[in-house]
């Protein structure tokens, strides 16, 4: 069965986004006529290199960086791995890392494996979060030691949208001479970021979360930060990442970054208002529903709501029947048999964790779509609750 994009109400933008038509237009020539190698001496290839450097400027502008601080990678995950592995290699005498319990698997599993596969040579502190998903700054400060090689803390959580005070944390780390990395895959393009004014050493982001294609990422490396590449090879990216550039995707990403900058106000006004309407509407009309995550310290596009006594996969499948796309933190959808590690770290009770649904909007969503979801979801939840042996006990 095939479902076309025109048919769906797509509210799963933290999973991935549609490619902006403008970004696709910018890419097409580099998938067809301009196929030269950017490293070539001839003009035919060299012009691709020029286009890549323009994309580098566009990416730098979106986050307030210098173009020389931008390294293109294959995805957000590669950027995360590169930053953390670089930091531990440039600090060979240090054996400690600080991170949080709610990181994306790109950071979480890397840290877990660093501990396990080095026979616990590395030791990781995973900071807990409060029930609204926020971090305690003092606790972060206290976790840093003279042995700490790097602190890696996400800017925005992919499941709840909760924001961490990474600028403040980077300053604290800097005072201690500790490198600071932030996984900003969910934050870049959704909230204004100006790295010049921060002490952040590394920042990761990913094209497919901001209307560029999948399989293209960025690692920001602050000027002067010690750096050892993850992908060794040719002199591409000034020797910071070997491998012939994914030219078309880089160019699409550049265009998408410029669009995101132009849309920043809309994201934080119209999209936020749509999200708020959806969120308040659901919380007000569906009994025993609750918001996961801090009400205001949050991305403008994300709402994670639990519907108690029903199970997430069942909700998603009913939504799927009417072509609404979203995600769940329930066990059945997490690929394991336990609900999401983020919700568990927040102490969300099991009655609610299994029934969590994440709605994540984008500039392409409309008010009619929100109205449709508001009109549809209460019946879906009621139908499933009528089946639930726990609901009647209420």
């Amino acid at each position: 069965m095939t479902v076309l994009s025109e048919q769906v109400i797509y509210m799963d933008n933290n999973a991935t986004t549609r490619i902006a038509p403008e970004a696709l237009d910018a890419m097409m020539p580099y998938l067809t006529r301009f196929y030269g190698n950017p490293s070539s001496m001839h003009t035919f290839g060299g012009q691709v290199g020029r286009a890549i450097n323009q994309a580098r400027e566009e990416a730098a502008n979106l986050i307030g960086a210098d173009p020389s601080e931008i390294v293109f990678t294959s995805c957000g995950t590669e950027s995360d791995s590169t930053a953390i592995l670089s930091a531990i290699q440039t600090n060979p005498e240090k054996n400690h890392l600080v991170t949080t319990r709610v990181e994306h698997p790109a950071v979480k599993n890397l840290c877990d494996n660093l501990e396990i596969f080095t026979g616990r040579k590395y030791h990781v502190t995973r900071l807990p979060v409060a029930s609204d998903g926020t971090l305690d700054l003092q606790r972060f400060k206290d976790s840093l030691t003279d042995d700490t090689a790097i602190a890696s803390v996400m800017w925005a959580n992919n499941e709840t949208g909760v924001l961490f005070p990474v600028e403040e944390m980077a300053r604290i780390a800097r005072e201690r001479g500790i490198l600071f990395h932030t996984d900003a895959v969910q934050a870049v393009g959704k909230i204004p970021i100006n790295l010049k004014e921060t002490a952040i050493d590394f920042l990761s982001f990913s094209g497919h979360k901001l209307h560029a294609p999948k399989g293209i990422g960025v690692l920001y490396v602050r000027k002067g930060t010690p750096y050892i590449p993850f992908m060794n090879g040719g002199h591409q990216e000034h020797g910071r990442r070997g491998g012939t550039e994914n030219a078309a995707s880089i160019i699409g990403l550049g265009r998408a970054c410029t669009l995101a900058a132009e849309m920043m106000t809309e994201e934080n006004t119209r999209v936020r208002a749509l999200r708020d309407k959806l969120e308040h509407g659901l919380l007000n009309t569906i009994p025993k529903s609750l918001l996961n995550g801090h009400p205001s310290q949050r991305l403008p596009n994300t709402a994670n709501i639990s519907f108690e006594y029903v199970e997430g996969e069942a909700i998603l499948l009913h939504m799927n029947q009417v072509n609404i796309c979203a995600s769940s933190g329930s066990a059945c959808t997490s690929g394991s048999l336990e609900p999401s590690h983020v919700l568990r770290a927040m102490g969300v009770p099991f009655t609610a964790a299994h029934g969590s649904i994440r709605f994540s909007l984008s500039i392409y969503n409309t008010e009619q779509e929100v109205d449709f979801v508001l009109a549809t979801l209460p019946d879906i939840i009621a139908k499933l609750r009528a089946l639930s042996p726990f609901w009647e006990d209420k």
Binding site: H123, T125, R126, P128, D142, S143, T145, D147, Y309, V310, E311, G312, E313, A314, L317, H318, Q321, S330, A331, C332, S336, L337, E338, P339, F350, T351, H354, A386, L387, S388, P389, F390, E392
Partner: protein, 278 residues
């Protein structure tokens, strides 16, 4: 995205026999909200020992709901004798198959049926008497052995797919492997001896950690003018705070890892990780 058959989709979207029979002859409750799925099955049995009605209420994913719905359809009009012989595979087959990661949903259906029949006949279910092997999902050795036998399971992953055991923290994997080896050996002619290894509940773990700290670690640190307090135990993560001389000592990290963690690992659990709460 799960690949569900049309039958599963149909029974999920239009579940049959939803509800609860009033004054039912047999009631079976299995699962829990913490585990992510639960089923309450009620049956009516007539004087001829035939199931005349069956209803269900289910909390769970699409395949849990579909399995329950299908089960009630199959049961209606069935002789009690035949119902006793129904297996999870019968339910899965009737649905045109289930993804292998979802087989535990059919197992839940059959367990609810057994519970309901036992409730009707007044029998005591043997399954509940086993030793809990997987704490995360409360699965007993007897349940696991039966799943291995009836479905010819060959790996720990299979066991997880059919019973959920091992799908949480993963700490029971070694025990599952041992059960698998013994059961398979038993099938080949040797009688399986159920391992009755001692398991540790969270409470026991915390108690033991406290004990070791009080009895051994504290007195040693006190000799050097230090002190230690247990702050929190979260899974394998043990948080302690160092006091007195230890708190300011620049080698407190070494103390923590080389001494405290080592002692706790030796005496309580190999997988413990000790962290300092400052």
């Amino acid at each position: 995205m799960w690949e569900y058959t049309d039958k599963v989709q149909d029974h999920f979207i239009n579940p049959r026999n939803v509800g609860e029979i009033e004054n039912a002859d047999g009631v079976g409750n299995v699962g829990s909200i913490a585990c992510g799925d639960a089923l309450r099955l009620t049956i009516r049995v007539d004087a001829n020992q035939v199931i005349t009605d069956a209803k269900f209420k289910t909390f769970g994913c699409a395949s849990a709901i579909a399995s329950s719905s299908m089960l009630t359809e199959m049961l209606k009009g069935m002789k009690l004798e035949d119902a006793k012989k129904l297996t999870n595979d019968d339910i899965a087959k009737a649905l045109g198959g289930l993804p292998k990661e979802k087989m535990h949903c059919s197992v839940m259906g059959r367990e609810a049926l057994e519970a309901a029949i036992a409730n009707y006949t007044g029998a005591i279910l043997p399954m509940a008497q086993g030793e809990v092997v997987c704490e995360c999902f409360g699965v007993t050795d007897l349940e696991i052995i039966r799943a291995i036998r009836e479905n010819s399971l060959t790996s720990v992953e299979d066991i997880t797919n059919f019973t959920k055991a091992g799908g949480g923290c993963g700490k029971c994997e070694d025990k599952l492997r041992a059960l698998l080896a013994e059961t398979v050996a038993g099938e080949a002619g040797h009688p399986p001896s159920v391992v009755k290894k001692k398991r540790m509940t969270s409470l026991e773990k915390i108690k033991k950690i406290e004990e070791v700290i009080e009895r051994e670690i504290k007195p040693t640190l006190k000799k050097d003018g230090g002190d230690i307090q247990l702050v929190d135990v979260d899974g394998d993560f043990v948080t302690v705070s160092l006091r007195g001389a230890c708190a300011n000592c620049h080698s407190s990290r070494t103390t923590l890892k080389e001494y405290v963690e080592k002692k706790l690992r030796e005496q309580v659990l190999e997988s413990l990780v000790v962290e300092e709460d400052k």
